[in-house]
């Protein structure tokens, strides 16, 4: 870079005291940030990326020990006290936090909170500040900004609140905006909107943006430069295209290859990085990635690699950095094999079918005299079926009814409306004992393995408990438990350890082992990898794929992550506001979406490839998911539909009044009056 850096981080180290010793969160990091650039700071949880960003704005907890320098305008920010630092916060450096739901003060109006930020640093009247707040909200494309400035945070949706946070961040035209996972808590279509606004914010103010994230796709689309952190150090840094095209650190290679890509033409097995990130206490003297690295040599264990130039501006911290490209070329580093896709013509027996399922929840009002004022139609007349040995995925944004659908199936009782048929038996007609027997064949893996395993039970017992419920003979229990642990890739010798001793990925494996204990025929997977770190996700996804082939088990997968669905599923049903808008084989639906919503959803998914990501055209949906309490008339998607805007007024009216039904369209079932490609 030719221009002068606006913020220089020099030899920064940060550590925290903890019960098991000093946690070295950031170790000797040096990083320059240049005006107007977007720097992607990427790492897994615990890599020190958030701590690093908090240190530059002076919001580290008091217990932190910090050494090094953070230089802004020739002053070392680390030497300033809270009083002096607060003059820079919000003015020179501002920050956007991850969770927009809790980041705003719940008892003050949005306008007041933005005005306050202006008044701290500028000598203007409150009225002027409030007026400016409205203008800022307008910049962030919030409809009716001056009216909305008088609203409280709880009257805004998550996406809208994140827009408010961005408005807050640019209020004083800062030089640097730190964005800590700004879109992680949001739905994919809202994420696309927010990222676009972040880009706009940086263009409006000319500020540099430091985008802290774990999502390589988000970085690929937005960042000019990338810095990858591992265990408190920057292990690779450089222009984004260069790093993605020719990564010089094995961790980067693994990270890029471990992410399923929605634009993948041929399904490949994902690269799974062995092991899990080290605890940042008493780190070994050598490279922290060495224990997991496939290119490890003995010297890696003892010699700490420095961040050195590889080519041009790309800097890499690896002792073998010059050999990495050769290792990739020869297939010795994280090579991936193509996986055979299941022959779709040979359809198995249908084992689960859902017909016209509906589920609504009553809404009550009043405290003394409670009265029903309406209902939320969480699931409204949906049908799908799952065949033996296949994986059906239900995708959709939060609130679309996918989890309700799962719970209705797991209930195994007659639904409010419609029919659920499991293994040819209608669940409304089965007896209590039959229902119990069915439970054995229908098991579930939950989203969060940190919450779904009893922390006070050894993992072996967690699995055995499942066997006891169904009266598996005692003599077989032990052997079965050990077999299961082996199947999911864990050491049976660890059966007497507690869940807390395992990492997230390992815990999800335990949860899978528990679900498999009774040889179920259908495994229901509720967002199985969304709570896991990027580098261990691939391992779990690969395990699921292997298990399906080995055990001929059927999966019903629920996910909001379309790249995961693309990688794992055979069939997909896309849900919007309680109904299925499109369904069919994954390849056809994802490569040739017919429903405008599917198209928009796919286009919103970030692809971890800076070249493809920056050149492809995006459909950014207007607005947010309407409330399921009073869904739009006609086609439920009509008020956000980008295709409808191009139609003749008569056709537009038709969309708004008549609800389309699912009809066959070139292999897919589509509920749209004007499907794409016609």
């Amino acid at each position: 870079m030719t221009s002068q850096a606006i913020l220089q981080i020099k030899n920064l180290s940060i550590s925290f005291p903890s019960e098991s010793g000093m946690v070295q969160a950031v170790r000797n990091v040096s990083l320059d940030i240049y005006p107007g650039e977007v720097l992607g700071l990427v790492g897994e949880s615990g890599s020190g990326k958030s701590v690093l960003s908090l240190s530059t704005i002076g919001l580290l907890p008091n217990s932190a020990t910090v050494t090094g320098e953070v230089i802004l305008n020739g002053r070392n920010l680390l030497e300033l006290n809270d009083q002096e630092m607060s003059k820079h916060r919000g003015k020179d450096i501002s920050m956007i936090f991850q969770d927009p739901l809790s980041a705003l003060n719940p008892v003050q109006t949005i306008g007041h909170q933005i005005a306050e930020a202006l008044l701290i640093h500028q000598d203007i009247s409150y009225e002027q500040a409030f007026q400016r707040a409205g203008e800022l909200l307008d910049e962030m494309r919030i409809p009716k900004p001056f009216e909305r400035a008088k609203s409280y945070p709880h009257e805004f949706s998550g996406g809208m609140r994140q827009r408010v946070m961005i408005a807050l961040a640019i209020a004083n035209a800062p030089k640097i905006i730190l964005a800590d996972e700004p879109s992680t808590a949001l739905d994919v279509t809202v994420q696309a909107q927010v990222l676009q606004l972040l880009k706009r914010a940086s263009e409006l103010t000319g500020a540099a943006v430091v985008l802290v994230t774990h999502d390589m796709g988000v970085v690929a689309g937005l960042a000019d430069r990338i810095a990858i952190m591992y265990s408190g150090r920057i292990v690779e840094e450089g222009p984004i295209e260069q790093v993605f095209a020719k990564p010089g650190m094995p961790y980067t290679v693994g990270l890029i290859r471990s992410i399923p890509r929605i634009d993948a033409k041929q399904k490949r097995k994902l690269v799974s990085i062995a092991g899990s990130p080290p605890l940042p206490v008493d780190l070994p003297p050598g490279c922290a990635f060495a224990p997991r690295c496939p290119a490890r040599q003995d010297i890696c264990e003892t010699k700490l690699p420095e961040l050195e130039s590889l080519s041009g501006e790309q800097r890499v911290a690896c002792l073998r950095k010059d050999e990495i490209q050769n290792l990739i070329a020869t297939g010795d580093l994280y090579s991936t094999e193509e996986t055979s896709t299941i022959d779709q013509s040979k359809s198995g027996e249908t084992i689960l079918s859902v017909e016209n399922l509906s589920k609504s929840f009553p809404v009550f009002k009043g405290a003394v005299l409670r009265r029903r004022i309406g209902s939320v139609h969480a699931v409204d007349d949906i049908s799908f079926s799952l065949s033996e040995g296949r994986c059906l995925a239900i995708v959709g944004e939060s609130g679309c009814g996918k989890t309700t659908t799962l719970l209705e199936i797991m209930n195994l009782v007659a639904p409010e409306k419609g029919r659920i048929v499991v293994f040819g038996k209608d669940v409304s007609e089965i007896s209590k004992s039959e229902r119990l027997a069915l439970r054995k064949d229908l098991q579930i893996v939950f989203q969060d393995p940190f919450a779904s395993l009893d922390p006070r039970m050894p993992i072996g017992e967690i699995i055995i408990e499942q066997l006891q419920v169904f009266k598996v003979p005692k003599v077989e229990q032990m052997a079965r438990m050990q077999e299961l642990l082996e199947i999911v890739g864990l050491d049976p010798a660890h059966a007497n350890r507690f869940p807390a001793e395992f990492s997230g990925g390992q815990r999800q494996r335990i949860a899978i082992a528990r679900a498999l204990a009774l040889n179920p025929k259908i495994l229901i997977l509720d967002e199985p990898v969304s709570a896991l770190d990027v580098s261990v996700r691939a391992g779990v996804l690969n395990l699921l794929a292997d298990l399906q082939k080995k055990l001929r088990i059927s999966y019903l997968l629920v996910s909001h992550d379309l790249s995961v669905v693309q990688h794992v599923a055979d069939f997909v049903a896309v849900m919007y506001l309680g109904s299925v808008v499109e369904s069919g084989p994954v390849d056809t639906v994802f490569n040739h979406p017919r429903h405008p919503y599917t198209q928009a959803l796919l286009s919103a998914v970030p692809i971890p490839d800076p070249v493809a990501e920056k050149t492809r055209e995006r459909i950014i949906l207007e607005g947010e998911l309407p409330s399921p309490m009073n869904p739009p008339s006609g086609c439920r998607f009509h008020n956000r539909c980008h295709v409808r805007q191009t139609l003749a007024p008569k056709d537009q009216e038709h969309c708004a009044t008549t609800r389309p039904v699912l009809l066959a369209q070139a292999g897919n079932l589509v509920a749209c009056h004007h499907p794409i490609g016609q």
Partner: protein
């Protein structure tokens, strides 16, 4: 907002009626005023017992519901009936309420204010010397029965008085009789200090623990971090954004405790010789005085519910999330 208050108020009236009815019926069934006159020497003739009981509407030979009807029709007109000693409950009430109020107003206000302050400071200095000192002291106070605290306070006061050589603290009663004007005022204050202190200590210990927790929640909250990221320094962020949110859950709590305290400081009143509501309640139960017990129940119900009503309105005023209906 107006309809919200109205709804709450209607709700409140219904609950008062239910509580009082239950209170009266329970007292009328459980207490037996006739006992007061039995076993006396010379024995009181049956007809005069009946005549006394009829006069005060406590004759157990009349059906309970009939007596209740009579009592209610009086209450509606503002007449709480007669005590077992055939004196007006209203008069007794007027005397007692003023005594209780005087005692509790200081105790409650200081208890709440210091409780909140100490709680907030403890939270900000979590695990530091201040927090630990007040933390342990609170546990000691909370685990000590009120009468023990009261007696310790008395001993301490006597010790101080001895050292000073004159009476700074009075340990019994509300004032020294035969004083007037400013002398009476000062004298009353000297009498008030000890019982108020007994109440304040308990209040501070209790509230500070709650406030500390509530403040700790807010201290770790994201929006406080946002406030600092905007450029507020630690102290400004704490006062402008932290305190209001942290006090919210306490508002309800204060209101209810104050309502209960007025009639619930029986031990303190008894030990320091204050003839307030709490002391009256104990005496009324001992003398099988149905009407007095019912009056106190009515009063407590009204107070508690009014406090709750106030808390609701207060919370609605402070917290916009509650306002939306």
């Amino acid at each position: 907002m107006a309809s919200f208050i109205l709804k709450r108020f209607a709700n409140f009236i219904v609950l008062v009626v239910i509580a009082t009815t239950a209170g009266y019926l329970l007292a009328a069934i459980a207490l037996n005023p006739r006992e007061n006159f039995l076993g006396r020497n010379p024995p009181v003739p049956e007809y005069s017992i009946n005549s006394i009981l009829d006069n005060v509407n406590m004759n157990d030979q009349d059906p309970v519901l009939e007596r209740y009807g009579t009592w209610v029709s009086g209450v509606i007109k503002g007449d709480l009936g007669l005590t077992i000693f055939s004196e007006s409950v209203n008069n007794e009430f007027k005397n007692r309420i003023w005594v209780s109020f005087r005692l509790l107003i200081l105790g409650s206000i200081f208890g709440a204010v210091f409780g909140v302050l100490i709680g907030v400071i403890s939270a900000v200095r979590q695990y530091k010397f201040f927090d630990r000192t007040f933390g342990y002291s609170s546990y000691v106070i909370l685990s000590t029965p009120v009468f023990l605290i009261a007696i310790l306070l008395k001993l301490f006061a006597v010790f101080i008085n001895d050292k000073l050589g004159f009476t700074l603290f009075y340990t019994v009663g509300m004032n020294t009789p035969e004083l007037t004007g400013s002398a009476l005022f000062v004298n009353s204050l000297q009498h008030m200090i000890l019982p108020s202190l007994a109440l304040i200590l308990g209040g501070v210990a209790f509230y500070s623990r709650w406030q500390r927790n509530s403040m700790l929640d807010v201290l770790g909250s994201d929006h406080l971090r946002t406030a600092r990221a905007k450029g507020l320094n630690k102290r400004q962020a704490l006062f402008k954004h932290g305190l209001r949110v942290a006090i919210l859950p306490m508002a309800t709590f204060f209101a209810y405790s104050f309502g209960l305290l007025i009639a619930g400081a029986a031990f303190t009143e008894q030990i320091f010789g204050w003839y307030g509501m709490g002391e009256w309640f104990i005496r009324a139960v001992n003398t099988n005085d149905i009407n007095s017990v019912s009056a106190i129940v009515l009063f407590t119900a009204v107070l508690v519910l009014f406090a709750g009503f106030l808390a609701d309105v207060l919370v609605a005023a402070l917290d916009p999330r509650v306002r939306i209906r």
